[in-house]
């Protein structure tokens, strides 16, 4: 009977779990890693990007996003939409073709792969015969022309991928049609380009690698015309009126050819090398588009003078007298032009360029061709991301202030709306305003609107201005001098080169109620900033915190402290620094916490931790946690994983150092021989044992035991159970927890009387694993609210009646202690059971998906195996477990950040965040609908072309069916 009841309870609990938790990877934010192909469908208004990892991503209006992944692990080399349809064809590196479609399901479109196909040549033919180099989707929408390396053109019916052998245009057919005198019958090489006549779908132009172009009549199955270009062909463009063909070549030239008339045209109508005289690089793509009134737009990619600007990534835009060479910071993948008008046949309105690291959109209708800010595909990594911090549920006031500060930074952007508008975004409005803050290597902090599907940039804060760095701020190539040729204009924001690695941001903490922000960096700098709507000129005073506390025998071997500007600096509206702490030694800051109500900031490095009062701008407490025998902690830039290479390097350094000291001080040679012996031992170890792991208990002598991993403020019962007081908690890598009781003066004396901190407790965890999190649970077992949260009526105040509990999270286990007398109450072991270790941990609130008012607190945990766990509070019981990240993806695991509502982000590449959700209620995922254009009554029928071609098309169709 009893057992039966327990079983019932368990299944009840299982049901609750199902209502609370559910794992989904929902959306990828940022810019796809290694894009390799781009295409745009004017009729769908969708843009598609293929990547080298085989992903295909579709984007329309903001919020409309689709993603697909090929099963093959091959790069996507080409993507083509079938005209007027919701299907697209991809060509992969392995020569396979794939058909994808957007299928509506429950009112939401999904991207699905519907078929795959690989060309098969005649038996015994070399693979080059069927190696696809050019793809043309015929405007009829049911034919695919595939040009190959062997020079053949294969015709395939889509969407079924049926080969239409009788329609193939073999190399022999073409060669036989060539005039006798052409080039001594040399090979034509591969098919470089296939173009359809815009006004006559019966004609297709085949451009061969060696330069010759053939206009082929599909109906008569014969050549209509030959265009004998002599240079290696790069790309071909058939002008919209069908009257001209533009060809671009590998020597940096382009030619214009008349199409009218039959036979061979021996000379181009026009031939030009735009950046001429000296040898130029190839023009890889050429587009010419007419305007209603006035001269056409010409777009050229590449063609720069080889010697002087061969390394630039440029697209030249020429319109009337205006000629600009847009200079990108990374390699150009592809570009297209969006045109005005209901049928998308009007004036060019925007140039969309996909470069390796970002998407740049240029407004062609506004004077000066400004850049339009992209709502998605934002390069998160314009400077490498070094840390991230998520703040949920930002108050509206604060949100607006950040937005307006950001708006002032974006004045150089075009005011035009986003030109890509396909699909309908059906996802519900975000339930709350969420901010994701990313810290970057160049000392900037970027604020992203992470409420919804689009990760939208809001504001950028730069901390470099506080410090003196080598680089002058106006050192860019940005300004172009008068009369410079080519007329470069720098565009794009991807700039991976950091002036000074010490500026790198390592930790961020924002108080969403007060607008106080603290940012800590690689050189032990901790800045406290305040949100100010006005620009201000101020000097930032630095306070030094000596974390070594006079410990003898240590010499810091890393970088020096950053130099602070002594003169006042003007800070624009936004977050303005007003206080600075610099740790000595200037090691990277490893933990940082702000308490805006108490006006305190605490920070830690590998040497100790400190408490800083930013109201009085003074240090309250400095505590050294360094183990006296830990020399490694003084080596400088911290590496938790010590590679053999590194340890070798250290040994060499040690030897060198000891040699230097020998010479200097004539000291014992024992040191040298010791270092030599160690080096030898290390070498021997390396040779004998390729991969082996030492099994040893952790000891207090291990390196980096003093490294501060976590810092926490709590108002709790530290000394007796009747009075709760402010307290500071610190956890180290060596499994120690230090608790300090804080004494704050009354509010009216806050600026005069000193804040004091007294040691209250120390806990040494026996297993000595690094402490990665400390949380105090109130009488109800809920985590204490954030500072000011209660004051703003946004949280229930903590229960101060019942007994508080202390939760210490180490990499190996979760342990609950009683308070105020610390004694172990319960624990959950992780490592001892399954060998995984806690890498990331956060406190989250999980709302039930069934009932609005039920929810539970829990810990969200990411392990070094890449698994996500939810651990209940206060019972520390494992609730659910999901595999999430590959365990080899160390940087992905390290980049993970949790939200307060059971979601999270991690980097899947340097430029992309994957968003996931562990909560069944709180899920942010794209929901959008794309309809087949012809079925949409609102849009005009896109094929508003003269009747002639349409008839032709029908003729073709009839042809096929016969």
């Amino acid at each position: 009977m009893k057992r039966f009841r327990r079983h019932g309870q368990e299944s009840h609990r299982d049901r609750i779990k199902q209502e609370l938790y559910g794992f989904n990877k929902t959306v990828e934010h940022g810019f796809p890693h290694q894009p390799s192909a781009l295409v745009f469908s004017p009729s769908l208004q969708l843009l598609a990007i293929g990547t080298r990892s085989g992903a295909i991503k579709l984007y329309g209006a903001p919020g409309v996003e689709f993603m697909g992944l090929h099963d093959e692990n091959a790069a996507v080399t080409q993507v083509h939409f079938l005209p007027q349809q919701v299907d697209l064809v991809t060509l992969l590196d392995d020569n396979s073709l794939h058909m994808w479609t957007l299928r509506a399901h429950h009112g939401v479109s999904e991207l699905l792969e519907t078929g795959r196909f690989t060309l098969t040549g005649p038996p015994g033919a070399p693979p080059s015969v069927t190696r696809v180099t050019a793809v043309l989707t015929h405007s009829s929408g049911d034919m695919l022309f595939l040009g190959t390396e062997g020079g053949h053109v294969f015709v395939v019916e889509v969407p079924g991928f049926r080969e239409l052998e009788e329609r193939n245009i073999s190399l022999e057919n073409v060669t036989n049609s060539l005039p006798e005198d052409y080039g001594g019958r040399r090979s034509l090489e591969h098919v470089e380009s296939l173009q359809e006549n815009p006004v006559n779908p019966r004609q297709v132009l085949i451009g061969y690698g060696r330069g010759i172009m053939v206009i082929w009549d599909l109906e008569r199955h014969s050549a209509v015309k030959h265009i004998p270009a002599t240079q290696q062909l790069e790309s071909v463009w058939w002008t919209e009126d069908g009257g001209h063909v533009l060809s671009s070549h590998s020597d940096g030239s382009y030619c214009r050819w008349m199409v009218a008339g039959e036979g061979t045209q021996s000379e181009p109508e026009k031939s030009e090398v735009p950046y001429g005289h000296f040898p130029c690089k190839a023009i890889s793509k050429i587009i010419q588009l007419p305007t209603e009134q006035g001269p056409p737009f010409l777009f050229l990619s590449g063609g720069m003078p080889r010697a002087s600007y061969g390394d630039r990534h440029c697209i030249s835009v020429i319109h009337s007298k205006t000629h600009v060479a847009l200079d990108f910071t990374s390699r150009i993948i592809d570009f297209f032009v969006i045109r005005d008008g209901p049928d998308h046949t009007g004036d060019p309105s925007a140039l969309v360029v996909l470069v390796e690291e970002e998407l740049v959109v240029i407004d062609l209708q506004t004077e000066g061709w400004p850049v339009i800010q992209t709502p998605y595909l934002v390069p998160l990594h314009c400077s490498a991301i070094t840390c991230s911090h998520h703040v949920s549920a930002i108050p509206l006031k604060m949100w607006e202030r950040v937005l307006s500060a950001g708006a002032l930074q974006n004045t150089h952007y075009s005011k035009k709306p986003w030109p890509i508008t396909g699909g309908q975004n059906l996802s519900p409005d975000a339930p709350q305003r969420d901010l994701l803050l990313t810290g970057h290597e160049d000392g900037t902090v970027r604020f992203w609107d992470a409420s919804g599907v689009c990760l939208y940039p809001m504001y950028k804060l730069s901390t470099a201005g506080v410090f003196l760095t080598d680089a002058e701020p106006n050192d860019n190539m940005n300004q172009c001098t008068e009369g410079e040729w080519p007329p470069f204009r720098k565009v794009g924001c991807f700039d991976p080169y950091s002036d000074d690695p010490r500026l790198g941001v390592q930790k961020i903490h924002l108080c969403k109620y007060s607008g106080y922000l603290t940012v800590a960096g690689t050189a032990g700098q901790i800045l406290v900033l305040e949100l100010n709507d006005e620009a201000a000129e101020q000097t930032v005073e630095a306070t030094v915190a000596d974390l070594l506390q006079g410990q003898e025998g240590f010499r810091w071997k890393g970088h020096t402290r950053l130099e602070v500007r002594e003169e006042p600096v003007t800070f624009p509206p936004g977050f303005q620094p007003f206080a600075l702490v610099q740790c000595q030694p200037p090691a990277v800051v490893t933990a940082l916490t702000l308490h805006s109500e108490w006006k305190l900031v605490t920070f830690g490095t590998s040497h100790g931790f400190g408490l800083y009062d930013y109201q009085q701008k003074s240090n309250v407490l400095v505590r050294c946690t360094l183990n006296p025998s830990d020399q490694l902690a003084m080596e400088g830039p911290l590496s938790r994983v010590k590679s053999i290479k590194k340890s070798l390097r250290q040994s060499f350094r040690r030897i060198r150092r000891s040699r230097v000291s020998l010479r200097k001080h004539h000291v014992n040679s024992a040191l040298l021989s010791l270092a030599n012996a160690r080096l030898e031992a290390e070498l021997a170890e390396m040779e004998l044992a390729p991969v082996q792991r030492k099994i040893e208990a952790r000891s207090s002598d291990d390196s980096f035991t003093g490294l501060v991993r976590t810092l926490y403020f709590a108002d709790t019962f530290l000394s007796d159970s009747s009075h709760h007081t402010p307290s500071l908690w610190a956890g180290t890598n060596g499994g120690s927890v230090f608790a300090y009781q804080l004494r704050l003066p009354p509010v009216e004396r806050r600026s005069e009387d000193p804040v004091s901190a007294h040691p209250a407790k120390e806990i040494q965890l026996m297993h000595r694993a690094p402490v990665v999190g400390i949380v105090v649970l109130d009488g109800h077992g809920s985590p204490l609210p954030e500072p000011l949260e209660v004051a703003h009526d946004l949280a229930r105040s903590a229960d101060m009646q019942g007994c508080h509990q202390l939760l210490v999270i180490s990499e190996e286990q979760f342990k609950v202690f009683t308070l105020p007398k610390v004694s172990a109450k319960m624990k959950l072991k992780l490592t001892a059971i399954d060998g995984s270790r806690v890498r990331r941990v956060g406190v989250a609130w999980f709302g039930s998906s069934r009932s609005e008012d039920y929810g539970e607190s829990g810990l969200t945990v990411l392990t070094n195996q890449g698994d996500l766990h939810v651990v209940s509070l206060p019972g520390v019981k494992l609730q659910v477990q999901y595999p999430c990240i590959r365990r080899e993806d160390v940087s992905g695991i390290a980049s993970c950040v949790f939200t307060k509502h059971g979601q999270g982000f991690y980097l899947i590449s340097p430029s992309e965040f994957e968003r996931f959700s562990l909560s069944a209620r709180c899920v942010v995922e794209p929901r959008s609908l794309v309809e087949v254009p012809s079925q949409t009554p609102g849009t005009t029928l896109p094929r508003a072309q003269p009747d002639g071609p349409r008839v032709m098309e029908h003729a073709l169709l009839n042809d096929e069916s016969e």
Binding site: V544, V622, P628, I763, M766, S823, A832
Partner: protein, 405 residues
Amino acid sequence: MVQSTGVQRAKMSRHQRTPLKNTNNVVEVKSKFEAEYRRFALKKSGTGGFQEFYRLLQTVHRIPSVEVLLGYADIYGDLLPINNDDNFYKALSSANPLLRIIIQKRDVDEPVVFATNSLQRRKKGLAGLRPAQQKTKPGLMIGHPQDFRQISSIIDVDILPETHRRVRLHKHGTHKPLGFYIRDGVSVRVTPQGVEKVPGVFISRLVRGGLAESTGLLGVNDEILEVNGIDVDSKSLDQVTDMMVANSHNLIVTVKPANQRNNVVLRGSKVSVGGNSSSGSIGSTISHDLAPSPASQSVSHYSNSNSVAEGDSDEDGDIIIESDILPYLPDHCVSNGNGSHREFPLSSSLGQRPLPQSIFLPSSGSLSDSKASLNSLTTPTHNGSPTKTSSSQESMREDGNIITM
């Protein structure tokens, strides 16, 4: 037996002594027999040998005809035997300056078990079990395991296949490292389908002088099958490493020895002790638990690999220091700027301050592991929690600085 020892130790720990002036040549001896204490000094040089000392104690305690066992508390708090000249000198050298001698009547029925675990183990549930079982199985002793400190044991012989060996390593407060390395490798399994090669984890190296080597129970190329009762199948090398480190205070590894010649041979239900022995300077032996070990009680069957083996001796093993600071706190404790806030160094120099604190050393913990940090802990303390004395551990550096309970 075990419990009574604990009580005795507790009494001793409460005893405060006056500091000794001259510690150079004289060893201060405090010996205890039943409820009687004797204190006397012994010259370090010219103390003679073990026999002499034995007779001296018999004289001092006036028990000339009683057969006794001698034991002493070493610096790690372990109760170690004195039964020959070597370990007698060792005992003398370890006195700093006090040498605590515990004299026990040699009892035929209940063999005395020395070593750490004997003093502190098994509070919960198992405490009563063990002596009871020992009583029912008297006289099965083969060697003299009580003469040595136990550093390892073969356990669960009765439930394991004879090709496997489950070894428990007792990591004492000694600075002796566990001392072995593991690597990836290929394991050959015989399945009904034939021989199958699967990835496995193997011992790759034993550190000379390390615990693993000195047991003689683990060898290079032994395949690791389980760690504390958990199957390592399909776990990566790093995972197995982390599991072992996490369990390092009480590591139970089940191995398939590369050398199968020294296997324990099962003869019916009888169990005989196999293995080779080696002894280091401290004295080590392979002792085989005669009674079913606690581990075997939770790991009821070999195949039940998901059950977590007993050996959770880190239960509450954390050191917690609580300072009752408020009334005593000096006002200048906090200073601005680079305030030299050094009232409370956990592991640093010898600054002493009469800060009253309680150091709470939970009882069932493997004390020896926390010992290292306690030794470096020089904060003055006093015994703030007398109720805990039953768990009293050794390690009495009686200079008034540390008292661990």
